[in-house]
């Protein structure tokens, strides 16, 4: 027989596994496919580079062959000038063989160039797609995270998934702590600036300030007293008017309320 502790633990674990199965993290899936896309893009780019390298190699070979061809032509011309028709014939036939090779290489070169252009275009298109996917992925991830946070808050409120909420709560605690620290730093600055919070190092200054405040407060009181005295001495008519309006107002109120009651 298993006790309460074990049975509760088993129930929690079973539920947690269920919840985890259900919540296969789409963010990981998104990141994974983005990774795959990047790999594909990398492959295409490598392909472009490979083709470009082959093309350059072909160009070098072509240059060499053309150099040889020119050289053979010159040799043939010289041989003919020297009256050595046999030598000239030999040079020209070698040149003809080279020309054949040059034509072959030129065909290959053209094919490669076409392929390279196609691949470059594909790479550009793929790059654009991958970029678009990345933006979309981040949006989805942010939305998902927000939704998840909402779920977690809901769970925390209902108090049902104390165990499952642990991860979320820890993250939240970390975030709360950061926010709290930031808020506190800001608040302390503000409070210090406004003088509401005493700067421990500046107690003496604050004493002076409060003394000054008291003094100025005292003069205000004196001024107020004097003003009131002056009013009492010379403004008794003013007081009568004020009293009259006050009576008028109180008189109008009982008239208003019954009207509302009837409606």
């Amino acid at each position: 027989m298993s006790g309460v502790m074990k049975r509760m633990g088993m129930i929690f674990r079973a539920k947690a596994n269920k919840a985890l199965d259900r919540a296969e993290d789409p963010r990981e899936t998104l990141d994974y496919s983005y990774q795959k896309q990047l790999e594909l893009l990398q492959k295409v780019r490598r392909g472009v580079a490979d083709v470009a390298t082959s093309r350059k190699r072909l160009e070098l070979q072509l240059n060499q062959l053309q150099g040889q061809s020119t050289k053979l032509e010159d040799q043939g011309r010289k041989a003919l000038a020297l009256g050595r028709e046999d030598l000239a014939r030999e040079a020209l036939s070698r040149r003809a063989a080279l020309q054949q090779q040059v034509t072959d290489l030129e065909t290959q070169h053209q094919t490669l160039q076409g392929e390279e252009e196609k691949l470059t275009l594909a790479a550009q298109r793929l790059q654009a797609k991958v970029d678009a996917f990345r933006t979309k992925k981040e949006t989805i991830k942010a939305t998902y995270t927000a939704a998840q946070a909402q779920t977690r808050i809901g769970e925390a409120f209902s108090g049902i998934s104390e165990e499952m909420g642990d991860v979320g709560m820890a993250i939240q605690r970390a975030e709360d702590k950061t926010a709290q620290l930031q808020a506190r730093a800001g608040a302390i600055d503000e409070l210090l600036a406004s003088g509401a919070l005493d700067d421990q190092s500046g107690l003496a200054k604050d004493d002076i300030q409060s003394e000054l405040d008291r003094l100025s407060g005292g003069t205000d009181v004196e001024l107020e007293l004097q003003r009131m005295k002056a009013e009492l001495a010379g403004g008794s008519s003013q007081q009568a008017i004020e009293g009259g309006t006050g009576q008028g107002q109180t008189g109008s109120q009982p008239q208003d309320t019954p009207r509302f009651d009837k409606q």
Binding site: V4, M5, K6, M8, I11, E162
Partner: protein, 92 residues
Amino acid sequence: MIVRIMGEGQVRLDDGHLTELNKLDDELLAEVEGGDEAGFRRTLAALLDAVHRLGAPLPDDALEPSGLILPSPDATLAEVRDMLDGDGLIPG
């Protein structure tokens, strides 16, 4: 072994203490099943006390799954029975 006390937090317990705690735990289950409210209250308090006494609390920001879970100190017998019956703690 990590023990969670619901509504309170987690406690790390040496596995050697489990036999001792299991006795109280089994008693508690019998009381839940038998509907012995007074016994349940007494045993739950004793069990929680023992866990507190023998274990060391985990810091709040620790992230460790609990091996065992205990009801909160103020849980009623009916609540605990509901949790253990049928669908368990979380419906669905």
